[in-house]
């Protein structure tokens, strides 16, 4: 029982990252109809910027400068978001009229570039991020196990971010404008709303969310150029299972699948890496549109 609880908690730990990434994908997909393959790479980028800010700036720039974890938590999403702005403005924007697969291919190319760049300068098996704040470095005794405070923080923080995003999109005026922009961009523009800007900002927001997840992940996992690639394919399966219908769907299926994966590690470890894909097959067979997806 203890084992199960412990593994469930670790599963949730993974689940919040699934949720944050599939949420970002869903937000971008919702407005741009594009699957951002580079989402994983942006997650990786987030972790690397945090790492570089903490460990390498001084060495590279020759000035004494270190960007701590809390600062990274704010700065990195902005920087990754900025990259999102550039990608959307300079590249993606020109592809909207074409088949959506071109958006997927473009972002795949960007993924290769980002991965390759970081593989050049950093060990592919990962570099540890030493910047975990002192205040979070302890352990919490949960009764059934010791759980690192930081991981608990990551879980709670991600949940807050996810639900805040959900609230923002589903329950605010800005959110309703976004949804209107999705439904009828021309008309929304005719009302004087700057839809291209909304699109850019949404893409940037999704990217920033991935970057944020990266910063959160950095102290837990070592920072590696491939960390996003390994994750993104699982997140794709999560998205297929959840369906792109709703923001809440993306969050819930991310969390649930993280848990399921965690529990599989106890019940039948060899299946842990594939259980989500098999669930995807089941969903495809019985509910092709996904659990939360809208029937066509």
């Amino acid at each position: 029982m203890q084992v199960i609880l412990a593994q469930a908690l670790l599963g949730l730990n993974v689940g919040v990252f699934y949720a944050m990434l599939s949420l970002g994908l869903a937000v971008i997909f919702g407005l741009l109809n594009i699957i951002n393959f580079a989402h994983g790479a942006m997650y990786m980028l987030g972790a690397f910027i945090a790492l570089i800010g903490y460990s390498f700036l001084e060495q590279w720039l020759g000035i004494s400068l270190q960007i701590g974890f809390w600062a990274s938590l704010i700065l990195v999403p902005l920087l990754v978001g900025l990259l999102g702005v550039l990608i959307e403005r300079l590249l993606l924007r020109r592809l909207y009229d074409l088949d959506h697969i071109y958006g997927l291919l473009l972002t795949f190319g960007i993924t290769l570039i980002l991965q390759g760049l970081f593989s050049n300068y950093f060990n592919v098996s990962g570099t540890p991020y030493p910047g975990q704040p002192e205040s979070l470095s302890g352990v919490v005794n949960l009764g059934f196990m010791y759980f690192p405070t930081y991981r608990l923080f990551a879980i709670v923080f991600s949940l807050v971010v996810c639900f805040a995003t959900w609230f923002f999109i589903e329950h605010t005026k800005l959110g309703s404008r976004l949804r209107a922009g999705v439904e009828n961009p021309d008309l929304t523009q005719a009302f004087g709303l700057n839809v291209p800007l909304m699109i850019t900002l949404t893409f940037a927001f999704g990217a920033g969310l991935a970057g944020l997840a990266g910063v959160l992940a950095a102290p837990i996992y070592s920072v590696s150029p491939l960390m996003g690639a390994d994750l993104i394919i699982v997140v794709f399966a999560v998205v297929v299972i959840g369906g792109m219908g709703s923001i809440m769907g993306a969050i819930l299926s991310g969390l649930a699948l993280g848990l399921i994966e965690g529990l599989t590690k106890v019940i039948y470890p060899p299946a842990a890496s594939t259980v989500i894909f098999f669930l995807m097959v089941l969903v495809l067979l019985f509910r092709p549109a996904g659990l939360f997806g809208k029937e066509k």
Binding site: Q2, V3, A6, Q7, L10, N13, V14, S119, N123, V124, S125, G126, P128, V139, M145, Y146, F147, P148, I220, Y221, S222, S224, M227, G262, K265, V266, P269, S273
Partner: protein
């Protein structure tokens, strides 16, 4: 120079240049090989000595196809490094067909000199038989009877786990569980929790490099050691200790073939290496230097680069240099030499950045390595 097949000697350094094993061999191996060539004078019998190097990315197919091209089209005479057992096995197999010497310094699997031994394959620095002899024996004798393994899921990890398990059981211990973790795992937490709930005394880490570092660090995060279990890194390199820091690593015991500050000779060489590489050499770096040097010696002494002749000469030589004293290359390819059980110093004991290890005991070559009487290698019996 008529005796050489192609007017030059070309040495291939095939290593993990970007992955888990980058820091323990990788680019450092190219530097060590170059040092050996330079110390040798840069040429043999008036023929230049060249290095070609490549990244096998820990993928045996990439390793094998690179080696295939080196042999078929680039006239490579000897291949060294090969720091991944899967890669080493595939390249050694290919080199056997192609009649090329491999001097593997980085891989550990005993299969290289046992079931899959090759007349041209030399296993130079350590193997998964030698590693547990020191470490596991010491741990079991200190009361670590029940073992749980976290194993790198490929040839090397399996071999290390099996050999360690055998040592543990032969001393009256017990293996209570095992979990296979993929090579290059980022998050060991769920494996560690399984190990924790198994009730084992010792968690044996049958992995290497970055994987070992991650596992030990995360064990620290989850307070595994504080809860009463011991960690045993079955293959630890000085670079791993350096990257973990003494706070986390102190007291860890493991087996190694080389300690850089053991004597003046090793110290002098290691400091030269540090100069070029920015880090102290691992046993593997020192091994590459020694292997290349001795290969060149054999070529020079026989006056040819013919594989059979050079291999025969290497078998006859007694190897003495800063890395090895009185080493012998056995017919199964195993280079028999002494190993050391070392312990990581406490932060208070360490005098400099790289002053990390203390030698506990020496493990004589005949204990460390499988004897020719017991070997399963078909070349011997």
């Amino acid at each position: 120079a008529g005796a050489l097949s192609d007017d030059k000697i070309k040495i291939g350094v095939l290593s993990d240049m970007s992955g888990v094993y980058k820091s323990l061999e990788g680019p450092g191996a190219v530097i060590a090989a170059q040092m050996a060539i330079d110390d040798f004078g840069g040429s043999v019998m008036g023929n230049p000595i060249e290095i070609i190097s490549a990244d096998h990315q820990n993928k045996p197919d990439i390793g094998a196809s690179t080696a295939r091209e080196w042999i078929d089209a680039k006239e490579v005479d000897m291949i060294t490094a090969l720091d991944n057992s899967s890669v080493a096995l595939s390249v050694q197999g290919l080199a056997k067909d192609k009649k090329i010497i491999t001097m593997n310094t980085g891989a550990g699997s005993t299969a290289l000199t046992e079931e899959q031994c090759s007349p041209y394959g030399i296993h130079y620095v350590y193997d998964t038989h030698a590693l547990p002899v020191g470490t596991a024996t010491a741990m079991v004798k200190n009361g670590g009877k029940k073992w749980f393994f976290i194993t790198a899921d490929y040839a090397f990890g399996h071999s290390l786990r099996d050999n360690t398990g055998a040592v543990v059981e032969s001393l009256g211990g017990e293996v209570v569980g095992n979990v296979n973790a993929p090579l290059s795992t980022n998050d060991f937490s769920s494996y560690l929790l399984q190990a924790q709930s198994s009730g084992a005394d010792v968690i044996g880490l049958a992995n290497a490099g970055q994987d070992t570092v991650n596992a030990i660090k995360q064990a620290n995060q989850f307070r595994i050691v504080q809860s009463g279990q011991k960690l045993a890194g079955m293959l630890v390199f000085i670079t791993d200790v350096h990257s973990m820091g003494l706070d986390i690593a102190q007291g860890l015991q493991f087996t190694t073939a080389f300690v850089w500050n053991q004597n003046e000779e090793t110290k002098a060489w290691s400091e030269r290496f540090h100069e070029l590489h920015g880090a102290m050499p691992t046993m593997v770096h020192a091994g590459v230097y020694s292997a290349v040097t001795n290969y060149l010696n054999a070529v020079k002494e026989t006056g040819t680069d013919d594989t059979e002749t050079v291999r025969a000469k290497l078998g006859e030589m007694t190897l003495n240099d800063m890395f090895v004293k009185g080493g012998k290359i056995a017919p199964n390819g195993s280079m028999l030499h002494d190993m050391y059980l070392v312990e990581v110093k406490k932060p208070s004991e360490s005098k400099s950045e790289w002053d990390l290890l203390r030698v506990v005991s020496k493990i004589p070559a005949d204990q460390a390595y499988i004897s020719m009487a017991d070997t399963k290698c078909s070349l011997v019996n």
